[in-house]
Symmetry: D2
Subunit: 237 residues, 4 copies
């Protein structure tokens, strides 16, 4: 896992970032031309472990059956969600064990929710539910002309941290529109955590040019984008 | 994630271990008295990220409801299983994407299976199924006097790599008996990957004294063992 | 389970309907004023067994926790989906057992898919996946003015049978619009199977006045509609 | 669904049994030689609907892949569990809806648990969890010589109703031993609900000769028993 924090948020984020946690870049996929991850702030790339690499392989393989694709996509999404959770604010908590001992642990601060950017983001809802018990899930639909067609929010969305679900960050234009809508609702940029399995440097740049404080968590940065992801997940190909 | 490999297996294991991947030791839980993880070979401790720490907290909290306990235990087990998978042997594979492009990925070598050490190990079966599509799951029952009462193997177990499921590695005596039985069936020590959520240094030492080449993957090393784990998971408390 | 078939489709539907399978009407919920289920064709009401009645109770109870609500809603949806599957066309098939014996069974004719009427119908997607391995799931979004905002079809939708997902059949106006769109795509009315947990006689009448051959499968017919269903399922209340 | 109650328990069971609910016997599988279901009390055969018949077909087909087998076995088990739940005692309950209306529903009486007869019964645990939120699951291991090797009970098992999990009721000898052990623990015969997917008349007779008041819920009665069920479910074939 790699975290590149901007200096000014180091205090708040210090429990996440560590200079020793740079990614083990095995296949060069996180460099594209002259760019590298270190040029970007607030971008987390999941550590490229073998289990993750196998998931990327199965998802890109056009011969994967629909059932295999969905099973492994769900596994991949769960890993991105679990990593995303690591970046939400925590608070220490003492609990009592069955042996009547105090155990000093942590808990996440309440007030998180998920917003799926339709339709592709809906492919991530099941995995989110498997990681976040009873999380509230809202929705925003942006059409191909980047017009917001439809939204479903929680009434108190402005006070919440938002896991924004969007599998492929390619050009980023629909996503910029979705974030714009969230910010318009009063959500702080810093409280938005974009969970995206497959990203390009171009897409990341586009999002951060508009909203530099949004957090981006992704399992792959590459120009080799599996555009068929959503269609294959839902079988509408 | 932390991997401490013995020198002689560095070639085979080199794609897993990295000197920069030491654990971020936040709460001292991986040191016990004068011992530290660096004294041990073939032991992998999951990186102590916030998401993991919250799961440990909920599992130790005696006030967690049964439903909450099971939900979060399943999440924790999935993380241990996913990390365990990272240590199985891989092979490169070229796949063709829907865009007709060759993608160079990896796949795991076939021939893995899981063996649950009854009864506690059975609490891990569901999560294993959610990570390993259609994995074969065998069983070994060791009673309180460390006698093997019952086994169910695959006929070709000797040729397989074994994910050995056992949630709490405390004294390790039942587990040593189970491994003994596996080795007696012809399984190579090096092909055994013990997945255990909660371990003690004493238990690790006990297992490795008898079987130094067994791989141990765990999410916690501490003397503070949640002995109620299995009883609470199954509700037989 | 209750099936009330029109006489002219008795041949095709005969394996579903049976004069002895009338519902055990315990609570009168399937009569509303002067109407009764027997006035309607192609409407299937799930048998009102205790397990189902408990699910209805939990879903209507405003004190149910969000996690309880989702768990039991998923159970209810699975039962409606399983009943819906019973009405799809089948074909006999001989299979060979491991003992080398011929077993004469059935299989469903291929070519089924699901279409969720957004947003409420999306609450049914997970349960559909748990019952129908790798089913294709399309989508249609109808806004509050009954305008179709968005669709995602399979290219061959006109050849398919469609499980239409929509939890609450109340006035039925959005649904009529969705069915209109499907029929416009070339889907036969008879090939549409509306799965709806909670229905009113008014809604059923409205749908059947426009599309008399559409099949309706529901677990409850009552004027006491749990309007909070979708908001509570997704936590946007 | 078919319920054949003995006369003397008609009062208690009356909300389950109905003379009009006899099974639609399509393939004669519920008659074997001169026997028929009507010779038996306290035996419930699930209604042989198409969805169920397809599951039976897939499970018997030796060419089903392991992943397909497990998926459809889980669906079948869920249906047997859901039917089993219908026979547990209920109590009326008034709940308040979000619209502030009283809804008269039911709830099941507390004090149920599940006991898996190892090892085969363990194949049913996941599906039980998907139907019964946070149910307690105990275990009893009977070896091939019908000796009880191992048990895990709830301390208060004598006060509970027991869903006894055992997929194949063939000779019934191991099961008789397991029930004997339960009764020895103080469980009332009438409080035992055997959930078994595949049964023979011989097995049912054997169980009821020893314990005539035990309830048996099954999805198939036939001499054509899929003996490979457990081995294929766990992949130890």
């Amino acid at each position: 896992m790699s975290v590149v924090s901007s200096p000014d948020d180091s205090a708040q984020m210090s429990h996440h970032a560590s200079p020793r946690e740079s990614p083990s870049v095995r296949d060069g996929s996180i460099e594209s031309g002259t760019e590298s991850l270190s040029d970007f702030d607030r971008v987390v790339l999941l550590e490229q472990k073998d289990s993750l690499r196998e998931l990327h392989t199965i998802i890109r393989d056009r011969s994967s059956s629909n059932a295999d694709f969905v099973f492994h996509a769900d596994r991949l999404i769960r890993q991105v969600v679990e990593e995303g959770l690591n970046h939400l604010p925590i608070t220490p908590v003492d609990v009592i064990t069955p042996d009547n001992v105090v155990y000093t642990g942590i808990k996440f601060v309440r007030g998180n929710c998920a917003i799926a950017v339709s339709r592709s983001g809906e492919a991530m809802e099941l995995a989110v539910r498997q990681c976040c018990k009873s999380i509230r899930i809202g929705k925003i639909l942006v059409d191909e002309k980047n017009k917001v067609l439809y939204t479903r929010w929680m009434p108190d969305i402005a006070e919440r941290r938002v896991l924004l679900l969007y599998p492929l960050l390619h050009t980023g234009s629909a996503l910029v529109q979705a974030i714009h809508e969230l910010v318009h609702q009063g959500v702080d940029q810093e409280n938005i955590y974009l969970l995206s399995m497959f990203s390009t440097f171009g897409g990341i740049r586009r999002v951060h040019r508009a909203f530099p404080l949004v957090n981006i968590i992704t399992s792959d940065i590459s120009d080799d984008v599996p555009f068929h992801f959503t269609m294959k997940y839902f079988g509408t190909d």
